[in-house]
């Protein structure tokens, strides 16, 4: 056969196993769930354990595979160290994420086992996003992931918040996918190529002095950039994320906050640095403006928030501003800073969500999730270890040494200064100081505020506390061996 070989199946071994396992889990779930003889059992907990097992086996398959750096499936996908690193990180983090969610589903009585099926399909889509090397594969993988997210955002059918969040996300996401498709069609229509490698060779020499330039190709690249920035909620395309983060149930918000940005940032890196390396030199000012706007809107938006999930959404926007600033340097130092930042951000947001999901209060006979920021007053008296871990997470997000957030910001700022983007660097430092204020305000609420009435906190579940302790260990101690992460990112970029 001319176009397919057994290497293609070996390269996709993880995804093939994962998809087969999801199909088997789907049929297993539906046969048990609708069986009259067994009394329509609720198998959500069972399926959650099986999904965790699927994640463990696929992580093992990914980590133990050899990586000859080739493209597969008729050059639709690429397998190099970047896709290997991002895939193994996504699978490891989603394994830890699934352990946090166990107890939440039981307490909030989300009894549909399809939650796990849709989440697993979203994770497979993220794996495809991170290794796509063609405009078609990129579009389909992004659509696959987005449709899974639309379903998850409106998962709680009885809550108006949730359905409204799903609807907003769907309308805005479909519009951005339409812009992505318009950009792809303009790019294909004028060049006749869809492969990233072919496009990079096509664009060679665009920035030479006498090179002829096709304006409409440039317009296509701009549209694709707009759509990709929408998906990672960079400003000025960030409008969906506070509403969607707040309306969706908290386990889904944690999924949105932790995982998709990693895959999309690696796709943006591949698109801007390999595919459109010459064209994006002309787009430099758009990247700088997006980074600046994201940082400003994220910082000043988070100052005004009173609810947990909106607060996390706005601080996410400011972190994404740093990542886009790293990419705006158009040098590999900046890309290193950006990828380092997204890895540290994923770890930090895993810790954040494991803390936020432990904020349950007892209001007999049921428990409820804390919604407001001011509900955590005097947390140090109720649960001092939880308060201490929140302090570590907030310090890491603010960029205070020796936490890894400091190193991430430092690498991005160094690359900005190297490229003479001094104004952006000064604004970044200034806005980080402003963001320190609202992080430390939370610490002040926990430690130094005295109230007359405090809420009764529900004790943390065992699985959540395991993940919390793992992430705390990593956050607090990784400064001793920071070259673990930086070597990993370096290998991903240059191999």
């Amino acid at each position: 056969m001319l176009f397919i070989s057994s290497y293609d199946f070996y390269a996709l071994l993880t995804e093939i196993y994962f998809l087969n396992a999801i199909c088997a889990l789907l049929i297993y779930g539906v046969i048990l769930n609708t069986s009259y003889r067994r009394g329509h059992p609720v198998i959500e907990h069972n399926v959650s354990g099986l999904s965790t097992q699927i994640l463990i086996v696929s992580l093992w398959l990914t980590v133990c595979s050899n990586i000859p750096c080739l493209t597969s499936w008729n050059s639709l996908l690429v397998h190099d160290f970047l896709s290997f690193g991002i895939k193994s990180t996504i699978l490891a983090i989603s394994l830890l994420w699934s352990l946090i969610i166990f107890s939440y589903n039981r307490l909030e009585k989300i009894n549909l086992y399809e939650y796990w099926i849709v989440s697993m399909l979203a994770i497979v889509a993220m794996l495809f996003v991170s290794c796509s090397y063609d405009l078609l594969a990129m579009y389909l993988a992004i659509e696959f992931q987005s449709i899974a997210f639309y379903i998850l955002a409106s998962f709680k059918r009885t809550s108006e918040f949730s359905t409204e969040a799903g609807l907003k996300y769907f309308v805005l996401g479909a519009f951005s996918s339409a812009l992505l498709l318009l950009g792809i069609s303009l790019l294909y229509g004028t060049t006749g190529l869809t492969n990233f490698g072919d496009l990079s060779k096509f664009f060679l020499g665009t920035t030479l002095e006498n090179a002829s330039f096709i304006n409409i190709t440039f317009f296509g690249v701009v549209l694709i950039e707009v759509a990709l920035f929408f998906k990672i909620s960079a400003a000025p395309f960030h409008m969906w994320s506070p509403d969607v983060y707040e309306g969706a149930p908290t386990n889904v918000t944690s999924f949105f906050g932790i995982l998709p940005k990693l895959a999309l940032v690696s796709l943006i890196f591949r698109f801007f640095y390999f595919c459109c390396a010459e064209v994006v030199l002309l787009l430099n000012f758009t990247l700088i403006i997006c980074a600046l706007l994201s940082m400003i809107i994220g910082t000043f938006g988070a100052l005004a928030q009173t609810k947990w999930k909106r607060f996390i959404a706005y601080s996410t926007i400011s972190h994404v501003g740093f990542i886009v600033a790293g990419f705006s340097t158009l040098e590999f130092n900046g890309a290193f800073g950006a990828l380092f930042y997204i890895l540290v951000y994923t770890l930090t947001s895993l810790a954040t969500f494991s803390i936020v999901l432990s904020f349950r209060c007892l209001a007999y006979p049921s428990t409820y999730q804390l919604r407001y920021l001011t509900d955590i007053v005097s947390l140090v008296k109720l649960n001092p270890i939880l308060a201490g871990s929140l302090v570590a997470v907030l310090f890491s997000m603010a960029g205070i040494p020796p936490f890894p957030g400091f190193f991430a910001k430092v690498f991005v700022l160094f690359s900005l200064l190297q490229e003479q983007l001094i104004g952006l660097a000064i604004m970044a430092i200034f806005l980080s100081c402003v963001s320190c204020f609202y992080y430390i305000r939370l610490i002040q609420m926990m430690y130094f505020t005295h109230t007359k009435t405090i809420l009764i906190f529900y004790p943390i579940e065992k699985t959540t506390s395991t993940i919390l302790s793992i992430t705390m260990l990593l956050l607090v101690l990784i400064f001793l061996k920071i070259d673990l992460i930086s070597n990993f990112v370096h290998c991903m970029l240059f191999l």
Binding site: I4, I27, V30
Partner: protein, 121 residues
């Protein structure tokens, strides 16, 4: 020019004539009729008495589910069309990729059947 235009120009002529005739009938009836409408003439007709309720009652969402499932299987069938044309020229990998596609959608079909989405009540 390709032979496509010869084949479809007949359909175009058909559409044009049909459109023209319906337009003529509508315009003639609009021009030649006396238009004196009072409240009784334009109200909705419900077998002689006053209508009970508005004609637009809210639908049940089961209709929508049936329409979505129809759309998904319609897309599956539309993927089958080019495959059936070129099956003689494809290597065996082309055959098996369509079998994989149909197997995945059969799994979805089993899921729907067991869940009871295909039953009406």
């Amino acid at each position: 020019m390709n032979v496509l235009y010869n084949e479809y120009s007949a359909i175009l002529t058909f559409f044009a004539v049909a459109f023209l005739i319906s337009l003529i009938i509508l315009i003639l009836s609009y021009i030649l009729n006396p238009q004196q409408s009072d409240q009784e003439k334009v109200s909705a007709y419900e077998c002689g008495f006053n209508p009970f309720d508005d004609a637009r009652a809210t639908f049940d969402v089961r209709f929508y589910l049936v329409a979505i499932l129809f759309l998904i299987f319609d897309l599956e069938v539309s993927f089958l069309f080019p495959w059936s044309l070129v099956l003689g020229q494809l290597p065996s990998f082309g055959f098996w990729s369509m079998v994989a596609f149909l197997a995945i959608l059969t799994l979805g079909f089993i899921y729907e059947w067991k869940k009871g989405a295909l039953e009406w009540e």
